[in-house]
């Protein structure tokens, strides 16, 4: 009897010791929640990060902590230096093996695009993944601030956020001078013709820049027939395609076959860099300013 008691005592005290020790061990690590409200354990020091989307790569560069980056996804092309970093597959089809071989302390993922199964497997393999989920300009600014805190670049993040906010406010002020909402067809796909609906960054930018998004509606990327576009009578057509300018000339020529189209009459068909409009990064504000100037050139004549 006595022996048994002793044994249980020893086992118990071992347990107590263990319970006491576990939190001590974990002090070095930090538990935080990401934007999807998932708990993640961060190591004490983050020395190596893998970015799982081009937009995240851009934010990391904007925060000035690119020294931490050891891997990026395909099409991480901005700034140009990012293209020379090791690639870990495309953001919709990540190459687990390459990510793990880089031994990152942290991966930064985006909900829009990165497959959840891959993220879960990374976590099973003890690689923490911080997921962001920017939905509009304000949450992009929040994301930049949060990543700034996470990567110890608070000052730069605060600066970026203040800069973005003041530039957005400036555009809002300028646009408030007019009641006119320019009818815009924002063409992101050439064949088939695809535009951007309400649940996109593009829609938010168009509305802020004083435009009327002719493709607004519940579908994020609705398809259009030529007939439908012509019947909508856009005043401005902006084509943002990854295709080169020769293709743009062809598409422009296609639209020019309808001389009664307001956009053709006024010669307001433009080709712009798609990355300025669909990547949740600080550059989205560049896109906003560009858009405002294209939609309301008259308001910007006196400024500069």
């Amino acid at each position: 009897m006595n022996m048994k008691l002793k044994k249980t005592n020893i086992i118990l005290s071992c347990f107590v010791l263990l319970v006491l020790l576990v939190p001590l061990n974990n002090i070095s690590a930090m538990e935080i929640k990401d934007q999807l409200n998932r708990k993640i354990h961060l190591p004490k020091q983050i020395k190596k990060i893998v970015s799982l989307a081009p937009s995240i790569t851009e934010i990391i560069y904007a925060l000035g902590v690119e020294d931490l980056l050891v891997g990026v996804t395909q099409y991480s092309d901005y700034p140009a230096a990012a293209s020379s970093l090791p690639k870990v597959g495309s953001y919709v089809h990540l190459d687990l093996e390459r990510i793990i071989a880089l031994k990152p302390d942290l991966c930064i993922a985006t909900r829009d695009g990165n497959p959840l199964t891959t993220i879960e497997r990374l976590e099973i393999m003890k690689i923490p993944v911080y997921a962001v989920d920017p939905r509009n300009l304000e949450t992009i600014i929040q994301t930049i601030l949060e990543l700034g805190r996470l990567l110890k670049a608070e000052k730069k993040a605060d600066f970026l956020a203040a800069n973005m906010r003041s530039r957005i406010l400036k555009i809002k002020n300028i646009i408030s001078c007019t009641q006119h909402r320019t009818r815009l067809f924002f063409q992101i796909g050439i064949s088939p013709i695809v535009s951007a609906g309400s649940p996109t960054f593009i829609n938010e930018l168009i509305e802020l820049a004083g435009g009327e998004n002719l493709a607004r509606g519940p579908a994020a990327y609705p398809r259009f027939s030529k007939e439908k576009v012509i019947s909508l009578a856009p005043e401005v057509i902006i084509i943002t395609s990854m295709a080169r300018s020769t293709v743009f000339e062809k598409v422009k020529a296609e639209w020019n076959r309808w001389p009664d189209l307001p956009a053709v009459k006024q010669q307001r068909i433009y080709l712009e860099d798609s990355n300025l409009f669909d990547r949740p990064t600080p550059r989205l504000v560049d896109g906003l300013e560009l858009l405002a100037k294209l939609l309301h050139p008259e308001l910007f004549e006196n400024i500069k």
């Binding site: 390459r98 793990i100 994020a220």
Partner: protein, 336 residues
């Protein structure tokens, strides 16, 4: 020809031992090669000493490459066995789950499951099973009509069912507009990268009993090939056997489709190749198809992972690229 003189158990043993060695060799290659490089020596070290060094290689090998190799082997085994069973039951050498549209039906079910936001297991798998059973029923109804029993018409109706399935898949894809689209398309072309050890294990739990049941009926398949009348004369309950085999095969094929999408031609190439080498006895062919099909798929997946400089290719592209020309060659050779 020497092998034919051996008695049956010995023959099964010898054939499978050879195929097992081939499968093991290709699996070894599969474990050694990956997008981060090829290192045979390190693999041998890790397998035999299990030493823990700073490198991430052990984790990469055990947690990324191993599940993939196992999944590929399972899927290859299932599809080539599925082809063998269909060829025996329908007495048509061109029958195969992919060509007959069984895989396509499973894919339709699986896509509907994915679009409804169900989990891969059991939700998507059940939808895939329902889809494959529906197409199977359709084909059987067409095939049971006496006029259509001829080889070519059966094949034609299968091709039509497959074409219809492709159209429905295209329809569903064109209705999808969100970020799942890319994943669905990649999955449709046959994608083995989703595997983790747990999922592969649960898939094996479904598939291995199916393999055993089919092996149990391998002699009956021999009788079926001689014709249903003869089989009935030998005391086989044909309807029951055919029913069991078809349901089991659909279950196997649909569960692999719900994991890895459409992998074509595996069910044609392996059974034919093995039949040419080993002869028509299903008691030998069933286990040979399991091992040989597994080896073929592991090899195709290996190419899919390592050939492209960046990213990877869907494995279904490789199986079709190797499978279709090989099949044409076999067809020409056997008709001569």
């Amino acid at each position: 020809m020497k092998k034919a003189k051996l008695n049956l158990p010995k023959r099964i043993l010898v054939v499978n031992l050879i195929l097992l060695i081939i499968l093991a060799g290709i699996s070894f290659l599969g474990l050694a090669c990956g997008s981060t490089g090829i290192d045979f020596l390190a693999l041998i070290k890790i397998i035999f000493k299990s030493e823990i060094n700073e490198s991430m290689l052990p984790a990469i090998i055990w947690q990324i490459r191993l599940p993939r190799v196992l999944l590929a082997a399972l899927v290859g085994a299932t599809l080539s066995l599925g082809g063998l069973v269909f060829q025996a039951i329908l007495r048509n050498p061109l029958a195969e789950p992919y060509i007959l549209g069984i895989s396509g039906g499973a894919a339709i079910g699986a896509i509907i499951g994915i679009l409804l936001g169900l989990s891969r297991f059991p939700g998507v798998s059940l939808f895939a099973f329902a889809g494959s059973m529906a197409t199977l029923l359709l084909i059987l109804v067409m095939a049971s009509d006496k006029t259509i029993l001829k080889k070519d018409s059966l094949l034609l109706s299968g091709v039509m069912v497959n074409a219809f399935c492709s159209a429905v898949i295209m329809f569903l894809i064109s209705m999808t507009q969100d970020s799942r689209l890319h994943n669905i398309i990649f999955w449709l072309m046959g994608d083995l990268s989703v595997a983790d050890l747990g999922q592969t294990f649960s898939l094996a739990m479904v598939l291995i009993p199916c393999f055993i049941i089919i092996f149990y009926y391998s002699n009956v398949m021999n009788l079926l090939l001689m014709g249903q009348e003869q089989a009935r004369a030998m005391g086989v309950n044909i309807k029951l056997v055919i029913f069991i085999l078809l349901v089991i095969t659909s279950l196997m094929v649909s569960s692999t489709v719900s994991y890895c999408g459409l992998l074509g031609f595996v069910g044609l190439v392996m059974p034919h190749l093995l039949r040419i080498i080993l002869g028509p006895d299903h008691r030998v062919l069933v286990p040979a198809c399991i091992l040989g099909g597994g080896a073929f798929m592991v090899f195709c997946d290996l190419l899919a992972r390592t050939l492209p400089e960046q990213g990877e290719m869907p494995a279904g592209v490789i199986t079709a690229l190797i499978g279709a020309p090989l099949f044409i060659y076999l067809l020409k050779r056997s008709s001569r």
